[in-house]
C-alpha cells in the first residue's frame, strides 16, 4: 500500500497503463501544457495536474496536446479507438460535454452496437465534475445523470484514491467507451492505494463504506463523505446506516442496493445532480419495483434543486445537498408513520 492523492492515483494509473500497453494514448487541452510558449512543453500542465510528467515519459505522439476543440477531441478519441488505439481523452470540465456530445453520444457510445458487434471501442473519457469551487453554472455540474442515460456508455464515479486506481485501470483495459468522472473537490484527498500493478475493480460492484441495520444510504463522489459523516453521527445514537458507494452508475450494482434495503427497509439516495430523471429517482424506482415488500418508508432522494448552479458562496452551499439535509432525510424516513 502507498498513500497518495486522488489526482496522483489518476496520473500514476495512466503512466502504468501507458508503460504496459503502447496503444494507450492521451489527448486533451493542456495535458502537456506550455506547447508553443517560451516556457516550452510541460512548463505547466493542465489545471488539475492530472497528467504531470507523462509527456516526458511518453512523448508527443502519445501525449497529444490539443487546441480548444472538444468536438474534435472526442471524435478523435472515437477514431483512435476504431483504429487499434486505446485513447484516454480529457475534458477539463465535465460541463464541456455540451460542446462535444455528438461524438460521445451518437458516435462512441453506439459504434459497437450499430456495427453489429464487429468492433471494439476502447476509449476512456475522463472529466472533472462537480460543485464546491463557486465556479458557477457552466463549470460545476455533475453530468452523470445525462451520461448514465445513454446506452453504450459505462459510467464510473470514483470516490477514493484506491478506487481511482482500480477503476481507472479497469476502464483503460475495457473494450467499451467508459466515462470516468473525477470529482474536482476530491483531487487533493489522500488515501491508501494498493501497489499491485494489476489492481482492478470490476464495474458494477459497489463498496460498502459503513454498515448498519436501519437505513440504506446510496451515494458516490464528494457527497459520499457527507453521508459517512451522517452515518457516524447517527451511530452514536444507536442508529445504523449502510452507506453504499456505487462506484459505477452504469453498470449499476442493483444487488448491493436491494440486499441492503431488504434488511433496512429504508432508502436514501444522495445525488449531486438535479432531481428530475435523476440517479436518485432511478434508484428509488428500482427499489419500489423490486423491494417493495421490504420497505418501511417511502424511498427518498436528496438532490440539489431543479436550478442551474449559482455562483455566490451562500447560494452554492444552499444548492448542494449538505450533511444537515442528509441527516434530516434519514430522520424523516426513520420517523415515517
Amino acid at each position: 500500500m502507498a498513500k497518495m492523492m486522488y489526482r496522483d492515483a489518476v496520473v500514476s494509473t495512466i503512466a502504468e497503463e501507458m508503460a504496459r500497453d503502447e496503444n494507450v494514448v492521451c489527448l486533451g487541452e493542456d495535458i502537456v501544457g506550455g506547447m508553443g510558449t517560451p516556457g516550452g512543453p510541460e512548463a505547466i500542465g493542465g489545471i488539475w495536474s492530472t497528467s504531470t510528467g507523462l509527456f516526458g515519459k511518453f512523448g508527443a505522439d502519445r501525449m497529444i496536446d490539443t487546441p480548444i476543440s472538444e468536438s474534435a477531441i472526442m471524435g478523435a478519441a472515437a477514431g483512435l479507438a476504431l483504429s487499434g488505439k486505446r485513447p484516454i481523452a480529457e475534458l477539463m470540465f465535465a460541463d464541456f460535454i455540451g460542446v462535444s456530445l455528438d461524438q460521445i453520444w451518437n458516435q462512441l457510445a453506439k459504434f459497437r452496437y450499430m456495427f453489429g458487434g464487429k468492433t471494439k471501442c476502447p476509449a476512456v473519457i475522463r472529466m472533472a465534475y462537480g460543485a464546491g469551487y463557486n465556479a458557477a453554472a457552466q463549470h460545476s455540474q455533475a453530468v452523470h445523470q445525462i451520461l448514465t442515460g445513454m446506452p453504450g456508455l459505462k459510467v464510473v464515479m470514483p470516490t477514493t484514491p484506491a478506487d481511482v486506481k482500480g477503476l481507472l485501470r479497469t476502464a483503460i483495459r475495457d473494450d467499451d467507451p467508459v466515462i470516468f468522472l473525477e470529482h474536482k473537490a476530491l483531487y487533493g484527498v489522500s488515501g491508501e492505494v494498493p501497489d499491485d500493478p494489476d489492481y482492478m475493480i470490476p464495474f458494477g460492484h459497489a463498496r460498502l463504506s459503513r454498515a448498519g441495520q436501519d437505513v440504506t444510504i446510496v451515494s458516490t463522489g464528494l457527497l459520499l463523505g457527507f453521508c459517512e459523516a451522517v452515518a457516524d453521527k447517527l451511530a452514536a445514537e444507536g442508529i445504523g446506516c449502510d452507506v453504499i458507494d456505487l462506484r459505477t452508475t452504469s453498470p449499476l450494482d442493483e444487488e448491493a442496493i436491494l440486499d441492503s434495503v431488504e434488511v433496512t427497509g429504508r432508502l436514501i439516495v444522495v445525488d449531486e445532480a438535479p432531481p428530475r430523471c435523476s440517479l436518485g429517482a432511478d434508484i428509488c424506482a428500482l427499489v419500489a419495483e423490486k423491494a417493495f415488500a421490504s420497505l418501511k418508508a417511502p424511498p427518498l432522494s436528496v438532490n440539489p434543486p431543479h436550478t442551474p448552479i449559482p455562483f455566490a458562496r451562500e447560494l452554492e452551499s444552499a444548492y448542494l445537498p449538505s450533511v444537515d439535509k442528509i441527516e434530516a432525510a434519514v430522520r424523516k424516513v426513520l420517523s415515517y408513520r
Partner: protein
C-alpha cells in the same frame, strides 16, 4: 479623423476604469474573499474600448470568460459588476452568475461566457436580428486565439456569411489560450484573420495595444457592416494579457522578463498618454485628474460590494421555472 477632447478623455477614462477594476480585483482576490474563477482582462483594454466607443446601446456584444473589460466598455455599471463578482444579491446578476457570467442585456451586453467558443454563434443570431431590423445596428463577438479553434467559431463564421448577418468577429490574439501558445494551437501560421477571409469575409487587422489603431480600424469595419446587405466582417487585434490565465496561475509558460517587457512596451494606457500628450491634445494634468477620479470610483465600488446584501438560500429558487 481627429477625436474631440471629450471623446479622448472618455476613451482614456474607460480604459482606466477597466485597468483599475482589474488591478484592484487582482489584489482583493488574494485575500480569499472573492469566490470562484476570475480571468482578468488587464492589458487588452484598448480593444474593448476601441470597439465599444463606436457602439450605441442598440448594438450588441457577446463576450468571453475574460469579460470584465467588454462589460465595462459596453456600459455595464461598475458598482453592479463589482457587487456581482463579490457574490452579492445586489450584483448585476444577483450573485448568481459571478465573474464569468456578467450580463446586461438592456445595455446590449449579451453576456460573458464560461464556454469557450459559445459566443460567436450567439452573435450570429443577434446579427441576423440586426439585419432584419434594418437600422444599421450590429452584433459583435469577442473571441480569443484559443476560441478561434472551436468548431462553433467556424460554423458561426460560415453561417454569418451565408445569412449576411450584421455580425463582427473581433479576435483578440493575446498569444495564449490558458497555458498553450497560439503558435502551437493555431494552424494557420500565426494568422487568425485569414480564417475569416477564407469563409468569404472582409477582414481587418490592427494593433490591440494601441487605442487609435483599434478605434480607426473599427471605424472602417463598422462603416462596412452597418450598410444593410453587406454581411459580416472580421478583425484581428494583436494584444497582451498582463496577468495569468486565471487568478492563481503561476504563468511558468512565460519567457524571462516577458511580463515586465509587455508592461513597459505594450501598455495601451501608457501609449495613449504618450501620444495624446506629445500631440498636445491633452495634458498630463487632465489624465492625472482622471486617474485619481477613477481610483476613487473603484474604491467606492469595493466599499459598496463589501457592504452589499448577501444572497439567501431562497434566492437559489428564483429566476427559473420549477413546477414542483
Amino acid at each position: 479623423m481627429q477625436l474631440s477632447r471629450e471623446a479622448l478623455l472618455r476613451a482614456y477614462r474607460q480604459m482606466k476604469v477597466i485597468r483599475e477594476f482589474e488591478e484592484r480585483l487582482h489584489v482583493d482576490i488574494q485575500t480569499g474573499e472573492i469566490a470562484g474563477f476570475t480571468h482578468l482582462y488587464c492589458g487588452q483594454e484598448a480593444v474593448a474600448v476601441g470597439v465599444c466607443e463606436h457602439l450605441s446601446v442598440e448594438d450588441k456584444i457577446v463576450s468571453t470568460h475574460r469579460g470584465h473589460g467588454h462589460c465595462l466598455a459596453k456600459g455595464c455599471d461598475v458598482n453592479g459588476m463589482m457587487k456581482e463578482i463579490w457574490g452579492s444579491r445586489e450584483g448585476l446578476c444577483k450573485g448568481k452568475g459571478g465573474s464569468m457570467h456578467i450580463a446586461d442585456v438592456d445595455k446590449g451586453m449579451l453576456g460573458a461566457n464560461g464556454i469557450v467558443g459559445a459566443g460567436a454563434p450567439i452573435a450570429v443570431g443577434a446579427g441576423i436580428s440586426c439585419k432584419i431590423d434594418g437600422k444599421g445596428h450590429v452584433a459583435i463577438t469577442f473571441s480569443g486565439d484559443g476560441a478561434c479553434n472551436q468548431g462553433t467559431t467556424f460554423e458561426a463564421m460560415n453561417m454569418a456569411v451565408v445569412t449576411k448577418a450584421a455580425t463582427i468577429f473581433v479576435f483578440e490574439n493575446n498569444h495564449y489560450s490558458e497555458h498553450t501558445g497560439f503558435e502551437y494551437a493555431v494552424g494557420t501560421n500565426k494568422d487568425i484573420a485569414s480564417r475569416a477571409e477564407a469563409f468569404g469575409m472582409k477582414v481587418w487587422r490592427g494593433d490591440g495595444t494601441d487605442f487609435f489603431s483599434v478605434f480607426e480600424t473599427m471605424r472602417e469595419v463598422l462603416e462596412y457592416v452597418r450598410v444593410p446587405g453587406n454581411g459580416p466582417a472580421a478583425v484581428e487585434f494583436d494584444t497582451e494579457r498582463f496577468f495569468g490565465h486565471f487568478e492563481g496561475d503561476p504563468q511558468r509558460y512565460r519567457g524571462p522578463g516577458e511580463l515586465d517587457r509587455i508592461r513597459a512596451e505594450r501598455d495601451c494606457l501608457k501609449k495613449f498618454r504618450e501620444s495624446v500628450t506629445a500631440a498636445k491634445l491633452l495634458a498630463h494634468e487632465d489624465l492625472d485628474a482622471l486617474d485619481a477620479e477613477v481610483l476613487e470610483a473603484i474604491e467606492e465600488s469595493v466599499r459598496q460590494a463589501k457592504a452589499a446584501d448577501r444572497p439567501t438560500a431562497e434566492d437559489v429558487l428564483t429566476d427559473v421555472y420549477i413546477s414542483y
